[in-house]
């Protein structure tokens, strides 16, 4: 057994987290900053943070992830990291010539109390930031929130630094996609294009973390939202923020800074959430939904109705990030499945209420936990108490899945052992179809594996 010390007896814990269902803020800030064109993320802390975050993102995407570090040593930790950051800014513009350096802090620089606004102003005053170039920052202490908070903070920084209140008013709609995959961002852009809606989407990691092989390494890949696009988003007629945990802060910032009216939606994962997204977008933009999208939706419904027998009543344990979980649970509920254990390490106000809201009267027995000690160890203990038919979560779930012999679907961050998430979306109707296919395959492969020979089905 891989997790041989996990038992079904749950002892109250107040201080120890075991097998976390979250990680720390800076990696989310790094991911968000990669969604800005010609931007080099910069980690203001000791080297390990940057190294670990680059490694985690690289393993998840199988793509180069470029980022720099302030390389704190003991001296910087005692005297503050100003000298390190000033030196870093100069070195980065000399060697790597980005349009933007997006600095995020770490628990180290936050504990010291480095004032990033002041340091950046000093860099500008000393001429270390070339004309037309930018240094921006987000405060991302690792001892608050989670990786999702870090994403949210950097996404908000894009607004506060760049969105221009004076930008020309346009019909454009700004989409703040939240922490989703490059494939999802590509799908959102594609849906908007099919609807005929002009959008700005940021952060946008498509064509950055799914870059093609061309025989040349583009240090700054083609993708990413440009500073100009974000500036212009200040003149958008409306904005949609997807997922409160990752996008509410940037949506509100855009509204208060530029007066862009914002609508907050759950992530468009699954049928109903996608319905709400498409409906909101068409209403805001005043466009008609093309038949191709309505057909796509119809095909999804068709498969659900055709294959319902394999889904109905199946008990699911699921862990991951709050915005993802709310929409996934809503979708599972629509399929008449039973999401019984739902865990996120990210401290999330109203998490249980949001989950209960999408479940309605269904699955009253569901156990829901967010924040400290809401970890995979606890989730595993619940599974040991009463088993599930399916586990959904990031790669670390495979240790539970193997020990308990449960079908397992990878979703979330990080996925270290499979490819696909960067290329095939989980948002939109196409994404829901992909999720559905994965769920069905998981159950049907299991049935094929376990069926006695006389009950081995040709047609399913």
């Amino acid at each position: 057994m891989l997790l041989r010390h996990t038992t079904d007896e749950v002892l109250e814990r107040t201080s120890l987290t075991i097998n976390p269902a979250k990680t720390c803020q800076p990696v989310g800030a790094m991911y968000a900053a990669l969604g800005l064109h010609n931007c080099l993320p910069h980690s203001h802390g000791s080297q390990g943070c940057c190294s670990y975050h680059r490694s985690a993102l690289t393993k998840h995407y199988k793509e180069p992830v470029m980022a720099a570090s302030s390389s704190f040593t003991e001296g910087a930790s005692v005297f503050g990291g100003q000298a390190n950051l000033l030196q870093a800014i100069q070195t980065i513009f000399t060697l790597y010539n980005p349009d933007v350096i997006a600095v995020h802090t770490t628990c180290l620089s936050e504990t010291i109390g480095d004032d990033l606004v002041q340091i950046i102003a000093k860099a500008v005053a000393e001429g270390k930031v070339p004309e037309g170039k930018h240094v921006i920052h987000a405060s991302t202490p690792s001892y608050q929130g989670s990786h999702v908070t870090g994403f949210s903070n950097m996404a908000k920084a894009l607004v506060t630094y760049f969105a221009d209140p004076e930008a020309a008013k346009s019909k454009q709609i700004t989409l703040l996609p939240g922490w989703v995959e490059p494939s999802d961002m590509r799908e959102l852009k594609s849906l908007a294009a099919r609807l005929g809606v002009e959008i700005a989407l940021y952060p946008d990691t498509s064509d950055v973390l799914d870059a093609p092989h061309t025989g040349k390494h583009e240090f700054y890949p083609r993708g990413g939202a440009t500073v100009e696009q974000i500036k212009a988003s200040g003149g958008s007629q409306a904005a949609i923020g997807m997922g409160p945990s990752a996008s509410q802060a940037s949506l509100e910032a855009l509204q208060s800074k530029c007066g862009v009216p914002g609508t907050l939606l759950e992530l468009p994962i699954g049928l109903q959430a996608t319905d709400r997204f498409i409906d909101t977008l068409r209403n805001l933009a005043g466009v008609a939904v093309p038949q191709s999208i309505t057909d796509e939706r119809g095909r999804l419904l068709d498969v659900i109705s055709d294959m319902h027998q394999y889904l109905h009543g199946k008990r699911v344990a699921i862990f991951g990030d709050p915005d993802q979980l709310v929409s996934l649970v809503e979708f599972l509920n629509l399929l008449d499945m039973k999401p019984v254990y739902i865990v996120t390490g990210t401290p999330t106000p109203q998490f249980e209420n949001r989950i209960r809201a999408v479940l309605g009267d269904n699955v009253p027995e569901a156990k829901i936990k967010a924040g400290q000690q809401a970890d995979m160890y606890l989730l595993h203990q619940w599974i040991k108490q009463e088993p599930v038919d399916l586990l959904i979560g990031n790669t670390y779930g495979k240790y539970i899945a193997r020990d308990e012999d449960i079908p397992f679907i990878r979703h979330g961050f990080p996925i270290l052992d499979r490819v696909g998430h960067s290329y095939f979306p989980s948002v939109g109707y196409a994404g829901a179809m992909r999720l559905l296919e994965k769920i069905l395959c998981a159950f049907m492969d299991r049935q094929d594996r376990d069926a006695p020979e006389e009950r081995f089905e040709l047609t399913m």
Partner: protein
């Protein structure tokens, strides 16, 4: 057209501001073998320039991730915000094989105090103590190791005091590591801190005597991809008893008992030489640098063990194992060599691997044109003979140097000075020595310490090597250029690469990588072929 490394070096340095140019010029060295046997001096184990994009990680990574983490029944508890423990969770492929289904194995668990803002403001000791208690009640470990992360040192939490208090309260061995990420210039500081902890808190705790005659410890072998399993098998077949490995596939008990061995074999010099030194001083166990990467290197290392124990039976068994294994290696080696002969490699990894793996490339006719360490010191490059002249700078000074004296009861020199002298008179039987990377590289090879991304791109453009070896952060950028990249931390989730069986795996993997078809399809038929950048002209 061949590359003139001196011209290339100057071109690389041009872009740097003056101070940085001076610093990097001392860390980029063109190798030469001087008449007095020395090699050029290289600046190593110094701070990375902020913003330069280094490969390096932090002190915590070296301590928890590299040295202590691989041991399966020491319960590792990370005191800090969640990230540090999360990123070191199963990410280094240290395989471990518990003795039984019931035996303790914590390697798949990730424990953290998940410090929150109030712990930073009001201190985290109370939460740490409670977390230790909770961990004790849930896992019943023999030992708990507490690792400090960056903010812990700043806010003044005393993990050592907490460890002592909890040790008294719970009655098991509990010890702390002040391995905050900022303590040193790289992972290397963490290795040293971990070594000190092993020595102070574990080694020598168990006096069980083993009756076998040829007892060794294998130091600096972390069982990445099962390397340690291959070596265990070889040593077993030779009749050599492995008391403990530091720290792949190890347990608390084997390490506690390791001072009963009669010889320490050091694989990864950088990460573990401190333990070897300290064990010799306290217990009288000599140490030898060995290399089990590469078939001929493995054979040589085994023969040196035979010479040390001066036993004809042992030597005969070693020769049998070598003969049997080499026969298998040579078949694959000849085949792969026919396809790889003359190709070039670059290696930028670790504090030993960039040296060790050159041997494997040599065995299939490939030449290493540029190499360097991520966190090596001068002795790893130039050999331990430079140690007496090494200046201890401010960044190294804050790492404890333990003053070790012979143990009053347990110091037992395994060999007399005369025996050592007699052995050292033979070829390649040096003790407490490591010759270093540069003496074993060609003259005119480039050696670059702590290479940056910028420098990596420049040497790749200039040399267009057939393979580049580094880590996950470098891999995909290099491969986007159409140059295969072999990860030598994780082995690209393959391996093992140690010993004879490992050499066969490595040869096959390199053959596959340098000859795979897909590199030739980057340009679609409707586009003109891309031109390869020209190499830097030689004078």
């Amino acid at each position: 057209m061949s590359v003139d490394p001196r011209v290339l070096k100057e071109e690389i340095l041009q872009i740097y501001p003056k101070k940085l140019r001076q610093k990097r010029s001392e860390s980029i060295v063109i190798n030469e073998h001087r008449e007095d046997g020395s090699v050029p001096e290289i600046k190593a184990n110094v701070r990375s320039n902020p913003g330069i994009i280094t490969q390096r990680g932090c002190t915590y990574a070296g301590c928890k991730g590299v040295v202590i983490g691989p041991s399966r029944d020491i319960l590792s508890l990370v005191h800090g915000p969640i990230g540090c423990s999360f990123y070191a969770w199963l990410t280094r492929r240290n395989q471990t094989r518990p003795e039984s289904l019931e035996a303790q194995n914590f390697i798949n668990y990730c424990l953290s105090t998940d410090m929150q803002e109030e712990n930073i403001v009001f201190g985290g000791e109370k939460k740490l103590k409670e977390a230790v208690r909770e961990a004790f009640h849930l896992f019943h470990p023999k030992a708990i190791a507490i690792f400090s992360t960056c903010p812990v040192g700043l806010i003044g939490d005393d993990v050592h005091a907490v460890a002592r208090e909890m040790k008294a309260e719970l009655g098991i061995n509990i010890f702390g590591f002040s391995c905050e990420g900022y303590r040193g210039v790289s992972q290397s500081a963490g290795h040293h801190i971990a070594n000190n902890g092993l020595f102070k808190h574990i080694i020598g705790n168990d006096e069980t005597e083993h009756t076998e005659r040829f007892k060794i410890n294998l130091l600096g072998e972390y069982n990445i991809g099962g390397d340690g399993f291959v070596l265990e098998d070889i040593l077993n077949r030779c009749g050599i008893k492995q008391i403990s490995t530091f720290s792949g596939n190890s347990t608390y008990a084997t390490m506690a008992n390791s001072h009963t061995a009669d010889l320490n074999l050091v694989m990864c010099h950088r990460s573990i030489n401190y333990v070897a030194e300290m064990m010799e001083k306290r217990f009288g166990i000599p140490w030898m640098k060995v290399n089990f990467i590469g078939a001929t290197a493995t054979a040589k290392s085994l023969r040196r063990i035979g010479e040390y124990f001066e036993d004809d039976g042992l030597k005969a068994r070693i020769e049998e194992v070598i003969a049997e294994e080499m026969a298998k290696v040579e078949v694959v080696q000849a085949l792969v060599k026919s396809r790889c002969q003359g190709k070039t490699a670059m290696l930028f990894v670790g504090g030993s691997r960039a040296h060790h793996y050159q041997q494997l490339f040599t065995e299939i006719g490939m030449k290493t044109v540029v190499a360097g360490y991520e966190f090596g010191h001068r002795d790893d490059y130039e050999g331990r003979k430079v140690l007496p002249g090494l200046k201890v700078d401010a960044d190294s000074k804050n790492i404890e140097e333990i003053d070790v004296v012979p143990d009053p009861e347990r110091f037992r020199p395994r060999r007399t000075p005369e025996q050592i002298a007699r052995l050292e008179a033979m070829t390649e039987m040096e003790f407490r020595d490591y010759v270093g990377m540069m003496p074993e590289m060609d003259s005119d090879a480039m050696v670059i310490d702590d290479i940056s991304h910028y420098e990596t791109e420049r040497i790749l453009e200039a040399y267009r090597p057939d393979i580049f070896c580094a880590g996950i952060k470098e891999k995909f950028g290099v491969q986007k250029m159409g140059i295969p990249c072999k990860q030598l931390h994780s082995y690209d989730y393959g391996g093992p690469y140690a010993g004879f069986a490992g050499a066969i795996n490595f040869f096959n993997d390199i053959d596959r990588l340098v000859n795979m078809k897909i590199w030739r399809y980057a340009t679609p038929p409707w586009q003109p072929p891309t031109e390869q950048p020209e190499q830097v002209a030689a004078d």
